[in-house]
Amino acid sequence: MGRAVLTAYFWAFVVFLFAPLAVLVVFAFNQSMTPTLPITGWTTHWFHQAFSDTELTGALLRSVGIGAATGLFATALGIMASVGLNARRLRLRALVVAVLLLPLVVPYISLAVGLLVLLNQLGIQISLWAVFLGHVVITLPFAVLVIFPRLRSLDPAMIEAARDLGSNELTAFNLVTLPLLVPSLVSSFLICFITSFDEFAIASFLAPPGQPTFPVFLYTGSRAPGLLPELIAIGSLIIVASLVVIAIAEGGRRWAERRLRGITAEELPTGQDVPALQI
């Protein structure tokens, strides 16, 4: 009885999550202009039309570009912030953490308006750069939340060993800390990329006229009925692309963790103390 309920609940959950996505993919191949049942026939026409629509592909490329730049920059900042947070002594640690994570709880729309006003005051014209900056602000907390725990979990003795063997702080960081952070850096990049790619509020305020990002283009386009089939086709492609990226990332993460597991401290017998030091 209990098991039947749980099973039913599980499948209801799956349907709730994936039905909209499945519907999107099905209608992408629908011959009719309107996404309604019954389906009258199958076609790949909308994909062809979407890719020959330069406005659409332009918006898509803009979003991919901004997403990639955001992912790289936010991840780089996230590494620096995590190193700072990992310091043994840090004044006002709680305040620093609060400031870093603040964008998580501030509505994007407020940030967007604030950025717009600020740029106006500074006399800077809104541009795709402004969108990029806004996206770095909102994705930095994700980068820190992904990278910092990984950094924290590294055995400090590993970095000390590198220093002991003649590396200065920078070399030890580059040769030991950074390679060990790689799995978290990949995760951070993907999360920041997706967040930026998906973001509408900031982009709608800061993207200059005629240069919409993909979500902005989708929003304005979805009100023009003629565009809808194209948008559905592109939307279903993005879903498939996301699944591929996630599968690759997860596979990569597992591979990296298997490789990094190697011989680690907890698998080895240890005494109570640092055994020896020699001159």
Binding site: A157, E160, G262, I263, A276, I279
Partner: protein, 338 residues
């Protein structure tokens, strides 16, 4: 070649906790020196200050006479073996071994040759977890031989006293941030300077006593119940309340009724067969409990003493050592329970 380590009034405080409290030590080049002590005694912090991972609150670390203040670990001519081994999991075995050589800008061909030589001596299919007690002892001897052969200074931090005694030229026993005593293993064992050292290293019988009369090289000690013994080792000029210590193997058990100086009537409470001898725990007429180690005799049969048997314990005056009452003695149990 060098390799002398000198610690001058070294202090390390973490907040209100003093981890290392005014440590002075000189470790000459080529010595195998062990820091021994209970957890939290400051031995690891001392090591970390020498390696450069911690900055002293005050005092100095001198390596070959050069003050190391502000010198980072990579600029110090010391190398640490970490408890966790600190192998780099993202590097191959070869690269792990080659790491230090590369940082020292050794030529590629030489790195390859030296790493290969090292790896030839490593049995990679032998998991380190199977290092049993026997193999461990064997490795200790080899490590010591290697150290002597290469002539480098070793500073070994351990809580394993057998390890420290086996390998060290000298040992320092630390307690609550300060050095209780620094000496050769033999001196440390035979002539402990404090009750803490006597109790920490090996098995000791520690008793409270009152020094009643000093006469040159000997002091009369009242152990209570009107029983007085003479001691000729340690601080024989002491007066008032003192600690007196004797090692179990220095006590001899005689038949009940034997009288003479330094002989105390006792009753056997437990007798534990050890293989190479018998550990007999006795209850002295003074109320103290005294552990005696009776070695096996030539024919392989240790004298047997049964619980409940009345005996006489002989505590030779040359083996009775008078120690000053120190603060470290506060957390020392008077006599081991078993």
């Amino acid at each position: 070649m060098g390799g002398e380590i000198q610690l001058v009034a070294l202090v390390k405080r973490f907040g209100s906790v003093t981890a290392v409290d005014a440590v002075d030590l000189t470790i000459p080049q080529g010595e195998f020196f062990s820091l021994l002590g209970p957890s939290g005694c400051g031995k690891t912090t001392t090591l970390r200050m020498i390696a450069g991972f911690e900055q002293p609150t005050s005092g100095q670390v001198l390596l070959d006479g050069a003050d190391m203040a502000g010198i980072p670990p990579n600029k110090r001519n010391v190398n640490t073996v970490f408890q966790s081994y600190a192998l780099f999991p993202h590097m191959k075995v070869f690269d792990n071994v080659a790491y230090g050589l590369r940082r020292a800008h050794v030529a590629r061909a030489e790195i390859k040759q030296r790493v290969s030589e090292v790896l030839e001596q490593v049995q990679l299919d032998e998991p380190l977890g199977s290092l049993d007690a026997k193999l461990r002892r064997q490795l200790q001897v080899e490590l010591k031989a290697l150290q002597e052969q290469v002539g480098i200074t070793f500073l070994y931090v351990t809580h394993d006293q057998e390890e420290a005694i086996t390998m060290s030229d000298r040992i320092a026993i630390m307690n609550q941030g300060h050095v209780e005593q620094a000496a050769t293993p033999r001196e440390m064992y035979e002539e402990p300077a404090t009750a803490f050292v006597a109790d920490f290293l090996g098995v000791s019988n520690l008793m409270d006593a009152r020094a009643t009369r000093t006469s040159g090289a000997a002091v009369a000690l009242d152990l209570g119940s009107g029983i007085v013994v003479e001691a000729r080792a340690g601080d024989v000029s002491a007066s008032g309340t003192v600690k007196v210590v004797i090692r179990p193997e220095r006590v001899t058990i005689e038949q009940a009724g034997v009288t003479g100086p330094n002989r105390i009537p006792a009753m056997v409470t437990r007798s534990i067969y050890l293989g190479n001898g018998v550990r007999v725990i006795t209850h002295l007429a003074t109320g103290h409990s005294l552990t005696v180690l009776v070695p096996s005799t030539g024919d392989g049969t240790p004298a047997s003493w049964e619980p409940g048997e009345s005996v006489t314990c002989h505590l030779p005056d040359s083996a009775l050592r008078v120690l000053p009452l120190d603060s470290g003695a506060a957390d020392v149990q008077p006599v081991p329970a078993t």
